[in-house]
Each structure stands twice: as C-alpha cells, then as structure tokens.
Amino acid sequence: MSFRLSDNARKYFDEIENSSSTGQFNSMWDKYYFAAMIGIKARDRVSTDDEPSVEPFVDSVIEDFRDQKFEIYAALISAEVERQYIPKDEEDEIRDLMLSILDSNDPTQLSDHGKQLLNCYAERGYKILQSSGPKPTEFDQFLRRYHQILEKQ
C-alpha cells in the first residue's frame, strides 16, 4: 500500500504547471499534499472502495515533507475522529484509531489503512478544487485560489 493520486487529479495539477510561466510544484508529493489537506479540512473523503486504483506515485514520504509528516498524520487522525463521531474523552477508541492509522514498523510510520485514508482524502480534495471554478493558469494564482478554497471548507 502506497501513496496514490488519481489520473484526473494529476492532470488537473499538471495542466496548471504546464500553463504557468511563474513557478511550479516541486514534486508529486506537493500535488498530493495540497489535494489531501483540502479533503481533511473539509472532513470529507471518498469511500475506501473508491480509493484511486492507479499505480502509486511513491512509497515514501519525500524529504520536503519528512519533518512535518506527523502533522499531516495528526490532521488525518483529527478528521477521522470527527468523521467517526468518537468522543474526545474515549481513550480506548482514540488510541485504537491512532494505532490503526500509524504503524511503527512502516518506514513512513503510516499504516496501510492510514495511507488508504489519506489517498481517499486527496481524491476528494482534488474534486473540491476541480469543482470550485475555472482552473488557474498560473502557479501564483493557484496558491491564492487554493488558500481561498481551503478556508471555505
């Protein structure tokens, strides 16, 4: 189990990158991260049955995100706590959820289930971006639009 971004989501970001003359994403992880954080903020993901079935783009968390990977995982846990209506004082349930998402034995320290959930948030996040008006043609325009859409969720 690895990180996956659907073909449609890749195309969405690639087209922005291709048309922009003033900047670009550094990696597929950038695109994946932007998509996933929108889904997480919206507390909305596609169902695990609809997880993108494309080839994974990478198995690991790249250097650009290594320091803050636990923040991404914490955001994922917070979203799932709310989605599953787990009361915040339920020690056992929260601990079980955390341990189902994290995995000390995986190099990323994210379990297969955790990766699957993140992939599902990324897919929903891309769909939110895609349906929120015309696609920006410049990278700086994308960053501004992204911020607006994120804060609306």
Binding site: N8, T22, Q68, A74, I94, L102, Q109, L150
Partner: protein, 652 residues
C-alpha cells in the same frame, strides 16, 4: 438382482382391521411361484395395489389421502408393511399412517439382523433406487384392466413402457433441462439470437467509428493549436520588428520588458517561498493548528501513550523475583500482571505515539498567508499592467502604429482561437466526471467515454457470441439426444416385436396374432380378425418380453388379470402369465377364476398360494382361507349377479 415379495401385513387400513398375506413356501423363505389372492370387490384389492406402489416409491401423501385410509370403525393409526428379499438381503418397508394428524411416515428394518429394530426413513437397495421410478413400478405393479391401453389406442403406453424398461425415458427427461440451461444463460448474458448478436455488432461498429472520428478531430485540433502557436510567434516577431523601427518606442518597449521580467522573477521567488511555508499544515491554516493543539491536549489528558509499556510488565512477571514495590511475587500475582499487561501498548506503539506527540508539542504558529498572498496578487496585477502597456505601446508613425495594432489584433484573435480549440481538446479528452456532467459529454463527444462504450460493446459481443454458440451447441446436443433415442428405440422396437411375435406363436399357436409395428401403441397385423382376448394376450406377451431386458428381475403384481378375457383366451393367457415371471401375485375376483386358475402353470404343484380374503358381518373383521377348494368354490353374490348386497357364500 431378484426382488421378491415375501409377506404383506395390514393393520387398520379401510375395512381391513388386521391381515397378513404370507407368500413364502412353508418352512422356507422362498416365495411361491404364484400367489392368488381372491378378494371380493370392496375388500381392498385396489387399495392394496396403491399401497404397494406408494410403499415401494416412498411417496409423500397429503393429509386427505392419508385420512382416506382410515377405517370407518375409527382408529388413530394404521400400518402397511411389506417384507422383501433382494438377492440375499432381506428388508422390510413400513408405512405408518397417523389418521389424527393426516401424516405418513416411512421406516425400514432388517428382520435377519440381530436386534434389528426400526430405522427411520424409506430405504431401497442401491440397484433398485436407481431404476424404480413411478412409471417403472406401474409396469410390474400392474392393473390388468389397463392392458387394453397397449393395443391400437394411439396412446403411447406401449412405447413409453419400452423406454422405461430400457431407461431411455431418463434421456427424454433431461432434454427440457437443456432448454432451461440455455434460457438461463440467455437471461444472464443478454443477446439471445443471431439477430441480437447482429444488433450488438452494428452498435459496436458505430461506436468504433465514432471513437476514430473523435481521435481524428483531437489530432486535427492539436495540429491547429501548434499552428496557432507558430503564427502567434511569427506575428509577435513581426510586431517587434515594427516597434524596433521606432527608437523611442523600442526603448519604452524594452523598459516594460525589463519590468515584466523582474515581476515574473518576483512572482516565481515569492511563490516558491510561499509553497515552502504552505507545505507545513500548522502554517497552512489556523484550523489545522487548532486541531493539533486540541489533539495534543486530549492525548495529555488521556495519558496517551501510557509511560509504561506492556514489555515492562511482562518482564516483571516473567523474570523478577519481587515487585518494584519490594513485595514477593507469587504465581497468582504474576498471572494477574501478565493479564493486565495486555492493556498497555508495545514499545513500538508507544514510540510512534510519542513521535506524534512530540511533533504536536513543537508546531509552528500559523502564518499570515493573507498578507503574503495579497502581495502576490499585487505583483501579478502589476505584471498584467506592464504586459498591457507593452501591448498598447503607441508608435509615432501612424502607419506603423496602424500596422502594429493590426498585428496585435491578429495576435489576440489567434490566441482566442487557440484557447477555444484548447477548450475543445479538453472536452474531447477529459475523463473528469464533474466536467462530463457539466458539459453533458457522452460517447459521441468525449474520447474516454467512447473508449468505455467500445469496451462495453466488445464485452457484449463476446458474451453474445458465447451465448449464441452455447445455444447452437445446446440445439445440437438436443438433436443428438433425440436422434439417439429415436435410433435406440427403433432398434429395441424391432427386437421387441420379433421376440413378442415368437412368444405369441408359442402361446396362441394356430390362433396367433402378430404385432406389425409399435407406433406409440401396438399395431396388430389383421386387427379386424383378432379377438379382444387375443389382443390382451399380445399385451401380456409384450410385457413379459419387456422385462426380459430389465436389469432387475421383478415380481409381477397384477390386479384382475383375466376379468375381461373370454374363457377360451383365459386358458391360453393363464400359462403365459405363469411363465412371465418367477413370482406372480395376482389379486382376483371370483368371476375371473373359471378357465384361468386351472390353466395356470406353477413351477411345481405346491408352488401356488390360494388366498381367499372376505369380510364377515362384523365391521373391520376379515376371514382368510388358504385352501384351494375353498378358493375355487368361493363366490361373491355381488360379483356373480352384480347385486348391491355383499353377502358371501362360503364353499366347503
């Protein structure tokens, strides 16, 4: 295998309170060759025949039928038992009738076995289980009055009997199953016929053509876009050369270009810096920052992860002699510690939760992204302004200016046309569901949809081809089976006719009739010249020949064998019936004895039973005699005179 009936017992069945018919030779288990059971009409002949059939087949009977066997005198239960010998094996079938509930229960037992009690359920030896169908049983538990149905009726009883004994009827039964399987396949897979397959092929062809057209259109649009790019480049170069002829304008143009370049660099640098900051969730949005604070707080409140790991307690229970508090640890303590250790996390799990907690304790404050993004917006706005100014730069020479403006308009027009075509390519190639819904795209206007449609119809074509092929193969199989049965039956018929005719020659001698053909029923040569009795003799001869080819040697149980035969034919048919089977059980009435009984030919003189069973004046009571003379002298008034009164005249 030989199947023989040794004994029949009745208890509380209609007018029969209790009755036992033993068909074996005295002092032995061997059944007698011929057993005659004389029962006046209304005593239970037809009932007995029906019960024998049900018992052999283990038929389920409904409440009404079961209660139909209840004696008028009233009884809660009835019983009908037959003892069989199948080769060396002996078994009994029990039919238990519950008149209160209207239910029937079958049981079986093995009288030879030590302590052989009643076993639940119906039972038949395997060899019999395979061949004893209802139709087959009707051929050896036989109603003599139906013999007529074999001859010249146009009904198919004779031919059916041939199929049953040769088991060709089993193949006939399977033929409708082939049709059912094909129907099921067709329901599951869609197209049913060649016509349906043709329709699918035509639809597939239409979609393949459309897909090819859409791809051609996309290629053509992409070529156009390349062409527009090239034209725009040429026009811009031409416009620059015009501007270059005006020195001042050229300077201004270069000045704008320099600003444009600087702003583009600024945008690029600022965007990259912003991107770097936005990669950290706590900086990306205050709400993520708040989530992390909240999560950390709850982890602290819930003491997640607990500072002591599972391994600590396991080690304590396994290795330490005393607890850390200094108390001695006995086995009970150790067991409890091990059990409770499960509530604590492993070292690894504690480690990963601590990493999470540590990161949450060191998160950055959210950035003021609004200000930085606003600055980005401003830079972009300035850039646009310079680009517009550069585009609208006026030249001092009016002609040149007019020329330049004309070129600018052309460039804008080219760009607009190009963008328009890019949008068309987007719509043609997008696999985005949202976009497809928004623009109402379908297989006639979108390449991925058309590809899916072609794939769908290719699958349909494959399935339909399979179904049609399957259906054709099933038709062939059906035709093969039909031809096989026809050919087999034709061959069997020829042999059957030949053997029956030979047998008829033997029994009827000079007055012999002959079978001409079997076409559903038996057709006789010179039918007009044959008597009814002769016809029946033909039917018996036909039956006897049939069973010669059967895998199991059956007893022949017959009801009213001679009732419709004239005296002359009775004397001819009686030896035939005797010689048909190794065991014959015939239920007769007094009026059919004359000319029939004395001409039966038992294997030996004492190889024949003479049972006479009749009712007494007492309800439910029957009397049984086994004496030959009594049997021969016994007459029933009703049968002799057709009168309603059922009085019995006993002979000596």
């Amino acid at each position: 295998m030989n199947l023989r009936i040794e004994e029949i017992r009745y208890k509380n069945i209609r007018d029969i309170g209790s009755l036992k018919l033993d068909f074996t030779k005295s002092g032995s288990n061997q059944p007698k060759h011929i057993s005659l059971v004389q029962m006046p009409n209304g005593t239970g002949k037809t009932t007995t025949m029906g019960l024998i059939r049900h018992l052999i087949l283990g038929s389920e009977l409904n409440n009404e039928t079961v209660r139909g066997y209840e004696p008028e005198t009233g009884a809660s239960n009835g019983e009908f038992i037959i003892s069989f010998a199948a080769g060396e094996e002996r078994f009994r079938l029990h039919m238990e009738l519950d008149y209160d509930l209207g239910t029937i229960t079958y049981k079986h037992s093995y009288p030879q076995r030590e302590g052989g009690g009643l076993n639940s359920n119906h039972y038949l030896p395997l060899e019999l289980e395979n061949i004893l169908t209802e139709e087959f049983v009707d051929l050896f538990v036989f109603n003599g009055e139906l013999t007529d149905d074999f001859i010249e009726t146009g009904e198919d009883k004779a031919e059916e009997a041939l199929k049953i004994v040769t088991r060709l009827d089993r193949i006939e039964v399977q033929r409708p199953a082939i049709e059912r399987v094909v129907e099921k396949q067709q329901q599951n897979k869609g197209a049913k016929t060649e016509q349906g397959l043709k329709q699918i092929r035509s639809r597939l062809e239409k979609r393949e053509k459309k897909l090819a057209n859409l791809k051609q259109l996309r290629n053509s649009l992409e070529d156009d876009i390349d062409g527009h790019d090239s034209t725009i480049e040429d026009l811009e170069a031409e416009r620059e050369s015009i501007i270059a002829s005006d020195k001042k304008a050229l300077e201004k143009y270069k000045e704008y270009q320099s600003e444009i370049n600087d702003l583009q660099t600024t945008l690029e640098t600022d965007s990259a810096e912003l991107l770097d900051s936005m990669r950290v969730p706590s900086k990306l949005s205050p709400s993520f920052h708040d989530d992390f604070i909240s999560l950390l707080k709850h982890m602290q409140i819930l003491k997640l992860p607990r500072s002591t790991s599972k391994e600590f307690f396991v080690e304590l229970a396994d290795e330490e002699e005393s607890c850390i508090c200094g108390r001695e640890l006995d086995e009970e303590h150790r067991s409890e510690i091990r059990e409770n250790a499960e509530k604590f996390l492993s070292n690894e799990d504690v480690g990963v939760l601590n990493s999470l907690k540590q990161r949450l304790g060191n998160i950055s404050e959210p950035l003021d992204l609004d200000t930085r993004l606003e600055s980005l917006r401003k830079t972009r706005q300035d850039l646009k302004q310079y680009e517009t100014q550069q585009d609208q730069l006026n030249l001092r020479d009016d002609d040149l200016e007019a020329e330049k403006q004309k070129l600018t308009q052309k460039i804008e027009s080219e760009k607009a046309t190009k963008e328009n075509k890019e949008k068309k390519v987007d719509l043609l190639t997008s696999d985005d569901k949202v976009l497809r819904q928004k623009h109402n795209l379908n297989w006639e206007s979108n390449i991925p949809e058309a590809k899916r449609e072609v794939r769908k119809y290719k699958n349909k074509r494959e399935e339909a081809t399979d179904t049609v092929t399957f259906s054709n193969q099933a038709n062939k199989l059906d035709a093969i089976l039909e031809e096989f049965v026809d050919r087999a039956i034709s061959e069997v018929k020829d042999k059957q006719i030949q053997k029956t005719n030979e047998r008829l020659d033997q029994i009827l001698k000079r007055s012999s009739v002959q079978i001409e053909s079997i076409d559903d029923s038996i057709n006789l040569k010179n039918k007009s010249g044959s008597s009814e009795g002769q016809s029946l003799a033909v039917a018996y001869a036909y039956l006897s020949t049939l069973f010669e080819g059967s895998a199991v040697d059956m007893p022949f149980v017959i009801d009213s064998p001679a009732v419709s035969l004239d005296h002359k034919v009775r004397s001819e048919v009686a030896p035939v019936i005797s010689n048909l089977f190794d065991q014959v059980i015939a239920f007769v009435i007094s009026t059919e004895k004359e000319g029939f009984i004395e001409n039966l030919e038992p294997a030996t003189e004492d190889d024949i039973n003479y049972y006479t069973v009749y009712k007494t004046d007492k309800a439910g009571e029957l009397r049984t005699h086994t004496d030959r003379d009594f049997f021969m002298d016994f007459t029933s008034e009703e049968e002799e005179e057709g009168g309603p009164v059922h009085s019995v005249q006993e002979g000596e």
